[in-house]
């Protein structure tokens, strides 16, 4: 009796595995190496239907609004190959992203793919935020921007959300980059501002914006 139950469990697990294995993926993870001058990138997942019957893809669910899946057709005959493309948009994103993409078949089985996008930043800046402590003189403070590329980078605008903090480009620097000077408007200034620095980067002049926070306590 017990051995029959055990056999049933083993068979169920084996059958479940077989159902999801009809599409064989060339790779289930694709890494996109991007830099901040690129608006995005496309990951291509290739597959072949190794089963004996047709496979129908019901829907594709990416784990992030940053990724849009594109499939030319949804049904694949035995032996047929296909591709699933996933378009990743860089937008205002920074760093590394691991985007799961769940492929749901019409029999409710699923396959999980993974898109890893690594965005190399072409502008490094520091410090990322400035603080004037209570009682500290409200003297100007600088933020250094360094171009992490030989391609052209240009600062197109600098804006301080709070007018009590002035933000401007300063000329006195000797590195491949820029210098931004933040100045509270007086010694009694208390509050916070977000400074928005807009650049254009690379041959396609992609706009990339950086923020820093200036706070006087």
């Amino acid at each position: 009796m017990l051995s029959r139950s055990l056999l049933a469990v083993v068979l169920s697990v084996a059958l479940a595995s077989a159902c999801t294995a009809e599409l064989k993926w060339e790779a289930t993870e694709v890494i996109l190496d991007l830099d901040s001058s690129q608006a995005g990138g496309e990951a291509v997942f290739r597959f072949v239907n190794e089963g004996t019957g047709p496979v129908k893809i019901a829907r594709i669910a990416p784990g992030c609004g940053c990724t849009v899946p594109v499939l030319d057709k949804t049904e694949f005959a035995p032996g047929e190959t296909g591709t699933l493309s996933a378009r990743f948009t860089t937008g205002e994103r920074r760093g590394a992203y691991h985007v799961p993409i769940v492929v749901v078949f019409d029999d409710d089985t699923t396959a999980e793919l993974s898109l890893v996008a690594q965005i190399r930043e072409l502008v490094k800046y520091f410090p990322l935020n400035l603080v004037w402590t209570n009682g500290e003189t409200r003297a100007s403070k600088n933020v250094e921007l360094h171009w992490n590329t030989t391609d052209k980078v240009e600062v197109t605008s600098i804006r301080s959300v709070n007018p009590a903090f002035k933000a401007e480009l300063a000329p006195d620097h000797d590195w491949n980059g820029a210098l931004v000077r933040i100045s509270p408007s007086g010694d009694d200034v208390k509050g916070v501002s977000v400074v928005v620095i807009t650049t254009v980067q690379g041959p396609n002049r992609i706009s990339r914006t950086y923020t820093l926070v200036a706070r006087a306590i």
Partner: protein, 138 residues
């Protein structure tokens, strides 16, 4: 003796199935194997903070508009600059910050909290461990 063997065998089957679940189900793996990280906060602890915390909703605009924690501000990477400004203006040094999104597997809240700490100096930004819907009044 027979029933003892039967129980042991059933326990073994349960262990195998549990193992399979942990191996193949990322959500189960996260719940069972991940301890609370330093930058995370439990639903219970977050609830205890109540209105003393600044609540940040890291989901999409559509999700935010369909319901959110009362008083929460929206902040996501689709419109980072535009949404960051009200967050910075609302936050005061020392104020706890709880960032949430849909579920344990949702990465948006972690990314937003990381950026708040790194780029805005909000060291108190924590990620809600779990689904924001657990905070809804029953």
């Amino acid at each position: 003796m027979g029933s003892l063997r039967k129980s042991a065998a059933l326990l073994a089957i349960a262990a195998v199935l549990g193992g399979l679940s942990v191996t193949f189900n990322p959500a189960a793996r996260a719940v069972l194997l991940d301890a609370l990280r330093e930058d995370e906060i439990t639903v219970a602890d977050a609830k205890a903070l109540g209105a003393a915390a600044l609540w940040i909703d890291a989901r999409s605009r559509a999700d935010f508009e369909s319901g959110h924690v009362e008083g929460a501000l929206q902040l996501n990477e689709d419109s980072w600059i535009e949404l960051l400004i009200p967050v910075i203006e609302r936050w005061q040094p020392g104020m706890p910050v709880v960032v949430y999104c849909d579920s344990q597997g949702c990465q948006a809240s972690r990314k937003v909290a990381e950026r708040l700490r790194a780029e805005a100096g909000i060291d108190s930004a924590k990620v809600l461990r779990g689904d924001w819907s657990e905070l809804r009044p029953r």
